[in-house]
Symmetry: C2
Subunit: 221 residues, 2 copies
DNA sequence: AGAATAGTGTCTCTCAGACAATATAGG
DNA sequence: CCTATATTGTCTGAGAGACACTATTCT
């Protein structure tokens, strides 16, 4: 890093790929763009960094998700930075992309957010389709050997729900007994008092994650 | 991304963690800083984005590595963006970090670059120690299930050299016969005519990577 | 009792690590 | 032949998938 402070500075933005679980699989939260460019197009939840307010890019992402989707607590992880002269007609820009995972129940207050199938969201503004695809690839890659999919669930959940979250996040079936075996061997969950009861079936034990952060495993789940 | 073009723009830089293989393990290429801040301290190879010249951040990274380390062809992959108010005394900044892998032989022309043990490089400028640690973690994590360590070798190599590169990159022993078995099953290498001959031992067959890009595996190597 | 979901036990096949055995060069 | 490195073969234990079986609640 050499001192050449006179260089023109590029535009720096933040984009959040907000993902949640729907009945059919992953869903992504989008916002309809008010102004040009791409007015009326759906876009990822994004904004500028506020230098006085935001201590770093992740703080900016949290502020933006809170402001635009009304979400106070989201699991956020940096995905990648997308940059270049071509991606925004206003000029050379860079956006630091974060993916955010949250349980479906937390999305009541997200009035302006439109949820679409993550795998088939329709046309998006800028290079957001590419960014979304990268987020899905990361989630599916990392989900196979980490607790990432658990952050798509509420704080307490049953093993069946966890299994379901893994299957829906990964988009492929996972052997159930092997899943239970591995989860219990990995010792990443702890029992919570009470049980989750459905309409017409046996109630299941409730668990929560032992750690609040993502845990990666040696082998895939 | 809302239009608020009036916002002050943060400083955006690029940093490259240039890694290569030494006898003792991984080595990182550093440059002694000429000016303030951190004058005289060792720092990662970095610089500003040139908006007219660089089509995107990776192009900027390539230009910077070519200019400061004299390397025309390096394997580069984006690591992460580090940002915040505190990391640079000159103000809120963001740096897009790339790690670069290259074979030891390519480093003849890198006059200004100082190589240090990657695991113990001594004090570095800015938050570069943290960035380097993240690069090593990524290389070791991803190296276990990809062809990443092969990019620390010249274009053609023997299986023993590849095995050695994996062990040195990962910092831990790898069972040799299992390694050979997995490599051959994965079908990522192809034979090259000729053989590599040492002083006083059996010459070994030469291989090269089938694909020019990193290949990830299902299971760890 | 029967339906529906939760949870367990077990069999088999594959794969990874350990390590022995064999191969091929130079001295 | 001896040494050093390369390469292959085999044995064994752990783990993953398949799937049947048991458990518990509600109607």
């Amino acid at each position: 890093m050499v001192d050449e402070a006179a260089f023109p500075r590029p535009i720096l933005t933040i984009d959040v790929i907000l993902l949640t679980l729907g009945a059919e699989g992953l869903r992504v939260g989008l916002i309809s763009r008010a102004g040009a460019p791409y007015a009326g197009r759906l876009a990822l939840i994004g904004g500028y960094v506020h230098l006085e307010e935001d201590s770093d890019a992740e703080a900016a992402a949290r502020r933006i998700v809170a402001a635009k989707a009304g979400l106070a607590h989201v699991f956020l992880e940096q995905l990648q930075t997308f940059s270049g002269r071509a991606r925004d007609p206003r000029g050379w820009s860079a956006t630091v992309a974060y993916y955010g995972l949250c349980p479906p129940g937390d999305l009541e207050g997200a009035k302006d957010v439109i949820f679409r199938s993550a795998d088939n969201p329709g046309p998006l503004a800028f290079d957001h389709a590419e960014i979304l695809a990268a987020a899905l690839a990361r989630l599916r890659g990392k989900g196979a050997y980490s607790t990432l999919p658990a952050f798509l669930l509420p704080p307490t959940f049953t093993l069946s729900q966890l299994h379901d979250a893994y299957e829906r996040a990964m988009g492929q079936p996972i052997n159930e007994s092997a899943f239970r075996r591995k989860i219990s061997e990995l010792d990443i969950l702890e029992r919570v008092d009470g049980a989750f009861s459905r309409a017409t079936a046996r109630p299941a034990m409730l668990y929560r994650l032992r750690a609040r952060t993502v845990q990666a495993f040696d082998r895939r789940i």
